[in-house]
Symmetry: C2
Amino acid sequence: MKKVFCGIDLGGTTIDVGIIAEDGVILSTEKMPSFVERGVDDVVGRIVNAVLACGKSVGTAFSIAGAGIGVAGLVDNQNGVLREATNFPGWINVPLGAKLQDVLKVSVTVDNDANVAALGEYVFGAGRGYPYLMMVTLGTGVGAGLIINGEIYHGAYGAAGEFGHITIDKNGPLCACGRRGCVEAYVGTSGILRTVKERLPAFPKSRLAAVDVETVMPKDIYREAMAGDELARSVFFDVGDNLGYGLGNVVNLLNVQRIILGGGVAAAGDFIIKSAQKRLDMMSLNNSETPVKIVPAELAEKAGIFGAASLAMANL
Amino acid sequence: MKKVFCGIDLGGTTIDVGIIAEDGVILSTEKMPSFVERGVDDVVGRIVNAVLACGKSVGTAFSIAGAGIGVAGLVDNQNGVLREATNFPGWINVPLGAKLQDVLKVSVTVDNDANVAALGEYVFGAGRGYPYLMMVTLGTGVGAGLIINGEIYHGAYGAAGEFGHITIDKNGPLCACGRRGCVEAYVGTSGILRTVKERLPAFPKSRLAAVDVETVMPKDIYREAMAGDELARSVFFDVGDNLGYGLGNVVNLLNVQRIILGGGVAAAGDFIIKSAQKRLDMMSLNNSETPVKIVPAELAEKAGIFGAASLAMANL
């Protein structure tokens, strides 16, 4: 029987399950709503059913050698415990790994979704061949996963990778975390909206002058940037520039080889990546021989199941 | 025969050699001038003589199981090559490890002095029990060594640990590296002198008003701080505060457990550590369960030989 791996992406609204071969071929997938409010055992039961359904559809020529699960929250990866998570109210210290393992009868590895996505990109995506990398996911907040020596880097107590709260200007704008000048204060959604608001008076002809800056989404601003709006372009240029300062700190401290950019705002990739790359090149020391490239993520919405399956492979 | 290890600290002016037992007892030491200008083979010859003299003095009950050497410069640690170093003009791609190994007939590991000092403090000094730590050496510049999972962290190409060039204020003062607002621009010697100069007008009664700010040394400023001079105290307070911002970035990104402070300026430890600790506590996320303490280095001028001997032990 050929060994295959199960990747589970547990999100606040959706559960994705996939059976993936070692060469990265997806053999089967299932997708369903999370229904988090129904409680842990209900959710675990539905994950199990999805895995079994996937297993059935790939047939008896394959044997699931292990499973991985990525979840947005604070994870104790060593013990497979979801310690807490904003999207899962009331789920405190849930032994997700043990619960799934009991029923599935294979080893189950649990990790944070940002870490899992970074591992997925390293094994199957834009990070292949770069065992020292960081994947940054831009969205409302800024998530990050570090791959060091080909493995997820957790730090001493699993709290590593808070790239969004790297300070690039100690006197900078207030961040949601209460500190000043964090990367997230510039490149997170609210930072982007703040910048639009600040600059509107200087760009009276901008089409963004007509939108409600309290409710406009980065993708709407992106559309205007694509259409040539100068305000919108200047905003994304600065998102990239500030991201570049933060990336410079990471590259100088950790000597990583590659940066992968994912998430909603990263759709504005061209604008952001160009200015981020320019700033990073200016910030990096010891960068001339082997410059660090910023590249868009490749796995898109499949990053979760690819990453979680990679987790299972890594822990075999 | 009991196994012992040889630690070599090759500096621009002095070579220190020590034979150290696994429990950290120093059995023998030698110290001599480097005479770098006499060329590689002369220096290597004198290191070998010093090692042999040390070996002779510890006697035949001990056998040297390996040697380590720390040197201030860019080191290719995997191949034992000193690629280049400011203090060793003309020494380009010197295979220090192989040269010493040929004569000493034991395995010789080469690493950068800041990395070696960090490893020494981890194995025998202020970092015992903390496998995730950073040691920062304050001086003219800012050196740093990262210990990750109990080992020196080199990054993808040996260029990791540039803590001195972490940006904490992208609009901040100019650093010697040409960038703005690096940690070193605040806590390196020239940053300290700049701060004194900037503040003199506000402290006309300061005893520092009488000194030549172009030539005064941080230790003179420290003496005045100890004597109660308010300008001197405010300067060291800010050195610590800015250091704390940089350390916050490292703690949030890497989830290290301990920071060790060494070097000349660190003599002003009380002033610097207190304000650095206060700022770090404010900057750290996920820090409440296991707060990161900043502590002074313990090995002082012995860090080099302890660290280099630890390098040999680690690579046995």
